[in-house]
Structure formats: structure tokens, C-alpha cells
């Protein structure tokens, strides 16, 4: 579960942070961040602009130092080079050496990640293919479009089958087809058993691929949990007559309009009992519609609640 968990509770976590804090001068970019990302999960880190998502990722990779708190990534303390061997990272502002070819960039990332000589060529080929750049390997990165550069960055993050892949807004420069492909890539990573930490404010993207999410705003986690639980159908709209509003209220609902009652706390499994109770009170049921939450609605609700 992605909520405030003390380190040590889940030794199998891919990422565990405890009150991680980052200040830039007097500005607090991230207030005590405590979260646990289970191994093998796809974790969505959501939040509006300036919320602290990128700061969190940079802390996890040791690119900036926390001003307080601690964290573990793949069993090592954050910033530990040996854990970074098994992490792939796509930065938010991706830039690669203009004067190298795409293949050479990937090669150097493979070498730096400690891949054996014999694996490098094959790993480079498969990474290029995965992001749809297979024909472009020999071209100079300087001649790439922005979207192609982001694809290259994605390939660099995926090279050598890392156990943890950290993607900071991986589709910011991609066309709709590319976004769809990234979804496929993330699902492929999950199938392989890798953990994915995905920063995004694209809710549909998160909704499509994530197992767990945490929402961060102004440097604080304001909500978190399993995505399927969050999105679970909650409440039902019932087309009904023969009931007055007092009777509806007794059953836990409200009349939204004449002939339309809303029961916000009804789970799908409780619907038959609800219908029976309405009938027992003299009501006639025409239609029951489950109310399905969208992540966007939940996201907006969360930001408002805070």
C-alpha cells in the first residue's frame, strides 16, 4: 500500500522513503514524503505543476540530496551507486549528446550501467526496437525531433532490463500513437516483473497502466492507494417512484431530481438489498445505474478536499 509506512515494514519494497524532505533555500519542494512502492508494481505519482514530483524522483536517484529524511531504493540507501545499476531513468528534461548517434548514446548507457560487452549490441538493438527507433540507430541525435529524443531517452531507461524504471513524464513530447506505445511498454515491464515509477499529470495515462497511485500537492502526499480500490464503483443512481424524500433519506440516499434517487455509499454487492428495501417501502424501481468514478473526478476532489 502506498501510504505512510515506516521503513522496515515491507522489506520487499522497491522504493521506501521515510519523511524525505527537500528545501531549496526557504522554499520547500517536498515535505516529509513517506511512501512504499512494492516490487513489481506500476506506481503512478500524480500532482499538479510544481507539486514536487520531479524533486521526488531526483531524490530517489541521488541527483539532489534530501535536506531531511531517508529512503531505500532496491535495498540500498538512496544515492548508492550499486543500486543505481539496476535502475533505468528518463529525466523530465531529457537531453542526450547531440554529436553521438542514437546507437552510441545507448551503447554508452549500457556500458555505464555495467552491462557485459557481449550483451551490449543485442541490448541496444532491442531497446531501439522497443521505442520504435529501429531504423534511426545510426543517425546523429542532434538531428532528432523532440519526440524522437524522448523515445531515445526511454530506450536509454530500458536498456539492460533494469529492475526499476523511473519515468518522469515519459510522454510529454509524444504523439498519440507514441503515448499508446508507451502504455504497451509499461505493461511489458510489469509482465517482466519490473517496478515502474511513473510521474505524470496525464490522468488517463495513469488510469490505464498503474496499480497504485499517490497524489502529491504542494510537496505533500494528499491521497494514495490501490487504483482499482479508488476507482471502484461507489454509489448507485436509482430511477424510482412511490417514495418520498424522507423515505429515501432513511435508506441513505437523496432525491437528486423527481424520480431519481442517489445512494452514494452503496457498493455493487449491496444493490439487491437496496432494491428490496425500496420495494418494501412501497417504491417502484425502473432502473439502477452504478456510478463509476473517473480518476479525474477523484483527482479534482482530492485537490479540493485539501
Amino acid at each position: 500500500m502506498a501510504h505512510a509506512a515506516a521503513p522496515g515494514r515491507d522489506p520487499d519494497a522497491a522504493i521506501r522513503t521515510d519523511l524525505l524532505e527537500k528545501r531549496y533555500g526557504r522554499r520547500v519542494a517536498l515535505h516529509g514524503l513517506s511512501l512504499t512502492v512494492p516490487r513489481g508494481s506500476v506506481f503512478g505519482f500524480l500532482g499538479p505543476n510544481g507539486a514536487g514530483k520531479t524533486t521526488a524522483v531526483k531524490l530517489l536517484l541521488g541527483l539532489v540530496r534530501p535536506t531531511a529524511g531517508e529512503g531505500m531504493v532496491l535495498g540500498g540507501p538512496i544515492g548508492d551507486p550499486s543500486a543505481r545499476r539496476r535502475i533505468g531513468y528518463l529525466p523530465e528534461l531529457f537531453r542526450y549528446q547531440d554529436w553521438l548517434s542514437a546507437r552510441e548514446v545507448l551503447r554508452s548507457h549500457a556500458v555505464l550501467a555495467g552491462l557485459g560487452r557481449e550483451r551490449i549490441a543485442a541490448a541496444t538493438d532491442s531497446a531501439l526496437e522497443l521505442v520504435g527507433l529501429e531504423g534511426e540507430g545510426r543517425r546523429r541525435v542532434g538531428a532528432f525531433s523532440k519526440g524522437m529524443q524522448q523515445r531515445l531517452g526511454l530506450a536509454a531507461a530500458l536498456i539492460g532490463e533494469p529492475e526499476l524504471v523511473v519515468l518522469d513524464e515519459p510522454t510529454s513530447a509524444l504523439d498519440p500513437v507514441g503515448r499508446h506505445e508507451v502504455r504497451g511498454i509499461i505493461q511489458g515491464l510489469r509482465d517482466r516483473g519490473a517496478t515502474v515509477f511513473l510521474n505524470s499529470h496525464l490522468l488517463t495515462e495513469i488510469e490505464a497502466v498503474c496499480d497504485e497511485v499517490a497524489v502529491v500537492d504542494h510537496g505533500r502526499v494528499i491521497a494514495s492507494g490501490r487504483l482499482d480500490e479508488l476507482l471502484q464503483a461507489r454509489g448507485a443512481e436509482v430511477a424510482v417512484d412511490g417514495l418520498d424524500s424522507a423515505a429515501v433519506a432513511r435508506l441513505g440516499g437523496t432525491m437528486a431530481a423527481p424520480g431519481a434517487a442517489i445512494f452514494p455509499d452503496i457498493a455493487e454487492s449491496d444493490v439487491p438489498e437496496l432494491v428490496a428495501a425500496i420495494v418494501a417501502n412501497g417504491g417502484r424501481v425502473y432502473r439502477v445505474t452504478p456510478r463509476k468514478a473517473s480518476l479525474e473526478q477523484i483527482f479534482l476532489d482530492w485537490l479540493e478536499v485539501r
Binding site: Y24, K58, L61, G62, L63, V64, R65, P81, S82, A83, R84, R85, I87, Y89, P91, L93, F94, R95, Y96, Q97, W99, L100, E104, S108, H109, V111, L112, A113, G114, G153, A156
Partner: protein, 278 residues
């Protein structure tokens, strides 16, 4: 670390820095050869006078070459480090299992190869062409050249360390200013020696400790001067403060200190990069 070194060398090849340096070398050596050929044809001087003429001219050329080399080293190091840090290229690299000190040392090594190769090829080209066309060779060209390379590497290290925090242009300018400042302090030191005036000498010594580049140049100079000329010049007090002549070798301590200085400056650079937010 070796991978970073390799990338740095490739960068200098692809960005045509190497090509530019190679072209400059050809121009430099060609021009020097032509000028010295003319000089040896037309000059009527003989014996020690002829020796003095050639030696002083060659040393002045080497001094200009040293300046060129220093600027090359300073600017290429500043651009290689600050450019990569500012563009975000470094963030992707430093998220890999590489220590920041190793990254910086890889850069240092790659740049040292480029700068060193340029210095050795162009510098020995100069000396060789002069000895061919004019029949004059300095007494210890190898030691002299190596000291000139060492001076360039010292300035390169300074620029590299500065570029872990400052922009490329600022780092390069500060390192260049430091180079000239060391030279000025060295001249003050010579004045102090000539006048036997302790305050001036102390200023010069402090300068030598803070930035030993000029001391390395003077050591190089000494190796490039014919002993007969030094013996002669020692007879005149006015020569002892001539900034274009070194009448005494530098003590070995200067060389050792220069190496320690480079290590310290590099260490400061590595620390500063280690603490930098990316």
C-alpha cells in the same frame, strides 16, 4: 570512468575541435619554418650572438604557444563540463552507477589526452622545424615541452573545477585571468629578486603557491635556453629581472607542489560537483 574519457575524446573529434587544432598546428609550424628559414638566410650574426638571437626568438614563440595552449585547455574544459551539466546531459549520465568524482576524472583524462596530444605535436613541430631550417635546437626540448604541457594541464584542472559550479564562459574567463595574474606575480617576484626587496619577493612566492603555472613556464624556459647564454646573462644584473629569461632552474619542490596543487584543485572540483543539485 574510461567510458567518460572515451566520450570526451569523441566529442572533441566530432565537434571538430581536434580538426581546428590540427589546422592551427599546420599553420603555426609552416609559418615558423618559413620565418626562421628567412632569418637564418638574411641574418649576419655569428657565434653567441646568433645563438642569442635564435634562442630568444624561439622562446618568445614558445611563450605565445604556451598562451594558446592554455586558452585551448581552459576553454575546452569549461565547455565540456559546464555545457553538459547545464544541458541536462549530465543528469542522465550521473543517474547511472558512476561516482561524480569518477565522472569528472573521466572528463579530465579525455581532455588531457586531447590537450596533451595537441601540445606535443604542435610544440615538437615548432622545435623540429626550427632545428631543420635554422640549425638551432634548444638544449632540452623534451623537458621544456613537458613542462609547458604540465602548465596547460594545471590551468585545465582549474577551469574544470570552476565549471562544476559556474557557467562555461565564466569558468574559462576566471581561469584565463588567473593565468595572467600568475604571470604578473611572477614578474613582481623577479623584480623583488633583482632589487633584493623582501616584500616583492613574498608577493611573488605567494603567487607561486596559489597558482604555480608561471613557475612551470619559467622552468620550461630554463630548459630551452642554451647554457652559454645563461652563463653570459648572469654577468649582468639587469638580466636577472628580465621576464623573458630564466637564469636559474626551478627547485624540484615547485614541480611537486604543482602536482599537489592540481590534485587539490581537482579534489575541490569533485567535491563541488558531488554537492551540486542536478
Amino acid at each position: 570512468m574510461l567510458e567518460i574519457c572515451r566520450l570526451t575524446i569523441i566529442e572533441s573529434l566530432r565537434r571538430r575541435l581536434t580538426l581546428a587544432l590540427f589546422a592551427t598546428t599546420l599553420l603555426l609550424v609552416g609559418f615558423t619554418g618559413w620565418a626562421f628559414a628567412k632569418l637564418s638566410q638574411l641574418s649576419s650574426l655569428q657565434g653567441i650572438e646568433r645563438l642569442a638571437q635564435f634562442s630568444i626568438l624561439l622562446i618568445f614563440l614558445m611563450l605565445l604557444f604556451t598562451g594558446m595552449l592554455a586558452l585551448t585547455a581552459v576553454f575546452s574544459a569549461a565547455a565540456a563540463v559546464a555545457g553538459e551539466l547545464e544541458s541536462g546531459i549530465a543528469a542522465a549520465i550521473l543517474a547511472r552507477p558512476i561516482r561524480r568524482g569518477a565522472y569528472l576524472f573521466g572528463k579530465w583524462l579525455g581532455l588531457a589526452v586531447v590537450v596533451g596530444a595537441f601540445a606535443l605535436v604542435a610544440g615538437s613541430g615548432e622545435i623540429l622545424v626550427v632545428s631543420r631550417v635554422a640549425g638551432y635546437a634548444p638544449p632540452q626540448p623534451v623537458a621544456g615541452l613537458l613542462l609547458i604541457v604540465a602548465q596547460a594541464l594545471l590551468l585545465m584542472t582549474l577551469s574544470l573545477a570552476l565549471a562544476t559550479r559556474l557557467s562555461a564562459v565564466t569558468s574559462a574567463i576566471v581561469a584565463t585571468v588567473a593565468f595572467f595574474l600568475a604571470w604578473m606575480l611572477g614578474t613582481i617576484d623577479l623584480m623583488g629578486l633583482a632589487l633584493r626587496y623582501p616584500t616583492l619577493m613574498a608577493v611573488g612566492d605567494v603567487g607561486k603557491i596559489l597558482l604555480p603555472t608561471n613557475a612551470l613556464w619559467q622552468a620550461a624556459e630554463y630548459h630551452l635556453e642554451p647554457p652559454a647564454l645563461i652563463a653570459l646573462a648572469r654577468g649582468f644584473t639587469s638580466f636577472s629581472s628580465n621576464p623573458f629569461m630564466a637564469l636559474a632552474p626551478q627547485p624540484a619542490a615547485v614541480l611537486i607542489w604543482a602536482a599537489i596543487w592540481a590534485a587539490i584543485v581537482f579534489g575541490i572540483g569533485a567535491l563541488s560537483l558531488g554537492r551540486r543539485q542536478l
